[in-house]
């Protein structure tokens, strides 16, 4: 059972600090980590390797420093890693990124399963997995939280829905995106981690020419969507203290909530909005 795991190095957005004056993100000193969902994806691949044998290869696209997450993955038990790094890759949207990754996967060679996290915490798009699957023309199962059975020709998984879950049988080769519920990622082992930092470590670094793509197919040039502007989210707060008896203030509060754009988020009002 050979697996490829797509991993991404991301800034730890739970530690994000905002400039109190401008409200902008302070990027300096932001810790970089392996994207949490991707760590769960890697763990899933390693569990299959422990049971059925085979090879686990991690693939990541990013700046040279993203080699850290590849070393971490090897420390956890991955057999080999590929870092896709090139100035031409930078500024890519999901279209260009998924193309780049799929070209690298074709070069890596044989796989039964591709694992990726459901989404990355810096972009939250959840698009890379399905788009890679489509470039490769293989089926997918997203939001997976359990692997029930593995056969040479198909895999049975549980995938999360909003109101429950679905048991899905999926033909192999396939791409699986994993959510945090799936497992607890193991810690890297020190001796493996040290091995991953040596010169002979099984890590390859590939650029655009290595995977046979043209510069204008990847990165910002190859992207179909472009960011026009970014800004700090700001809401004008009404800042009103409601006064009166507890019945009156609560009634007024509920009315205000009902009249606001937040009403659709509240389940208690949902039954009054008819389908």
């Amino acid at each position: 059972m050979d697996s490829i795991v797509l991993i991404k190095q991301v800034p730890d957005t739970t530690e994000v600090k905002l400039d109190p004056k401008t409200g902008n993100l302070i990027r300096e000193g932001l810790k970089s980590i392996m994207n949490p969902d991707d760590a769960h994806a890697l763990e899933a691949a390693l569990v299959l390797k422990d049971r059925f044998g085979g090879k686990v290869t991690v693939v990541s696209m990013g700046p040279m420093q993203a080699i850290d997450v590849i070393s971490e993955a090897i420390g956890m038990g991955a057999d080999a890693g590929v870092l896709l790094t090139d100035r031409a890759f930078s500024g890519a949207d999901t279209w260009a990124t998924s193309f780049t990754l799929s070209m690298a996967i074709k070069k890596v060679g044989h796989f039964d399963l591709i694992f990726s996290g459901r989404q990355a915490i810096d972009g939250d798009t959840a698009q890379i997995g399905p788009q890679v699957a489509d470039w490769l023309g293989i089926p997918q199962a997203t939001y997976v939280f359990d692997i029930e059975a593995v056969h040479p020709k198909h895999i049975t998984v549980k995938r999360r829905l909003e109101d429950g879950y679905e048991r899905l049988q999926c033909r192999i080769p396939a791409l699986i995106t994993v959510i945090g519920e799936m497992n607890n990622p193991r810690f890297p082992r020190v001796e493996r981690l040290l091995g991953a930092c040596r010169e002979k470590a099984p890590i390859q670094v590939w650029n655009a020419a290595d995977i046979g793509v043209k510069a204008q197919q990847v990165g910002l040039e190859g992207s179909l969507t472009h960011v026009i502007r970014t800004f700090a989210p700001k809401f004008k707060r009404e800042g009103k203290i409601l006064e009166g008896s507890k019945e009156t203030v609560v009634r007024e509060l509920i009315q205000k909530l009902k009249d606001s754009e937040g009403a659709t988020a509240c389940k208690a009002f949902a039954s009054t909005c008819e389908l």
Partner: protein
């Protein structure tokens, strides 16, 4: 596009050799040769003094998309029930359609679901594209992607919207890849640019710490998924729409996936960073029992319970439900802070919530400064009263 060498001009100076990031140039017989590895990045063109390196690169231009018309919504249904987000999208689609003078269309795919077409029309659809097939009874990625791909290629919409539900987020990226159009995920705002007449798609990034506006100039349809609960549905009871039935061949072998079973279950408690409604408690809640009422309110509103560092240290709520600098950053639609004073560390984790409600005995508590609506009073009286009134409103 190609890069080539004018052999007569090349003096074999090797500058291009150094400039090439890919090792894709070699010098043979004193002249530069471009190898297959060349990515056409153009780095060599700038350094060639003899102007021997040439490229036929043209600047990227925006194609003419005037043949792409209509604002489309993918109408999501499971077991014959429409997802509410689809109606919300139709509400927005009416606004976008009006602004551009284009019609609102919906894609309805499934098996024996034609009755839903009328609902879509009553919520603003001019034209429903209906595809029914046994293979579409349950949602399966490939089958549904095939349907949307075929319709999009046949009828060329200008805009295509899907709900950012589990289904929408599973399906949309595959359509985007097939059709070759850009896709923006989880938008919270959509508008038409008045000059360019393109769709401006705004979405949160970096865990909601930054908002980004994204455009899709080079491909059609302009495709986006939109978070449920953000747009408002707009009913059009007297609307007369048309239904276009589109027949399709779908082969089972191509799909590759079988749904063995669908299990409905009550959610156990989700990640608070994904909750739309959060009821949070602080020191003022008093004890673990006090959180019971907060839990009831959260259940009623369809949300989650969270708390301050104090509430975690006292053992009233688990660590993973802590909001603030040392806990999680959240941005729900509604944040109800009960007995929370609003220290800066806590506010850092919740001030990006859309609406903030504060209930606190102390009128000087800093939480009131960031609240939309505040109630000065005892949460042990106010919260049960909210539960009572919400329940009766629901009846």
């Amino acid at each position: 596009m190609v890069v080539w060498v004018e052999k007569d001009l090349c003096d074999g100076c090797r500058r291009c050799l150094k400039a090439c990031p890919y090792g894709a140039i070699e010098i043979k017989d004193g002249k530069a040769h471009i190898l297959d590895r060349c990515t056409l990045c153009g780095a060599c063109l700038e350094v060639c003094r003899a102007k021997a390196l040439r490229s036929d690169a043209k600047p990227k231009t925006i194609p003419d998309f005037s043949d792409h018309q209509g604002v489309w919504v993918f109408a999501e249904q499971r077991n014959g029930r429409l997802n509410r987000v689809s109606l919300e999208l139709l509400g927005k689609a009416q606004e976008l359609g009006q602004e551009m003078g284009q019609e609102v269309c919906a894609i309805l795919a499934g098996n024996r679901i034609s009755n839903l077409a009328q609902t879509l029309i009553r919520y603003g659809t001019d034209k429903v594209y209906l595809v029914q097939h046994k293979a579409l009874t349950q949602y399966r990625t490939t089958a549904y992607a095939d349907v949307v791909e075929e319709l999009v290629k046949a009828y060329k919409p200008n805009i295509l919207l899907l709900g950012a539900s589990h289904l929408g987020r599973d399906l949309a990226p595959r359509i985007s890849r097939r059709v070759g159009c850009g896709l923006t995920a989880d938008c919270t705002e959509l508008a038409i640019d008045s000059k360019e007449k393109i769709l401006l798609q705004t979405r949160p990034a970096f865990g909601g710490n930054v908002m980004a506006t994204i455009a899709n100039r080079y491909s059609r349809p302009q495709m986006a998924t939109v978070r449920p609960g953000v747009m408002a549905a707009l009913s059009t009871p007297d609307k007369k729409g048309v239904i276009v039935r589109h027949a399709m061949r779908i082969t089972e072998t191509r799909i590759g996936v079988k749904v063995l079973e669908t299990i409905r279950e009550r959610k156990k408690g989700t990640d608070i960073t994904e909750a739309k409604v959060i009821v949070a408690g602080g020191r003022g809640v008093g004890d673990a029992k006090g959180f019971k009422a907060l839990r009831d309110l959260a259940d009623l509103m369809g949300g989650e319970v969270a708390g301050t560092r104090v509430a975690v240290e006292e053992g009233w709520i688990p660590q993973e439900n802590q909001v603030g600098q040392t806990g999680k950053s959240v941005r729900p639609e509604i944040y109800v802070a009960c007995g929370v004073s609003g220290a800066i560390q806590h506010r850092a984790g919740m001030m990006n919530s859309r609406y903030i409600i504060a209930i606190n005995k102390d009128p000087r508590a800093p939480i009131f400064q960031v609240a939309d609506w505040g109630i000065v009073g005892d949460l042990h009286e106010i919260v049960p009263e909210m539960i009572r009134q919400l329940k009766s409103a629901n009846r």
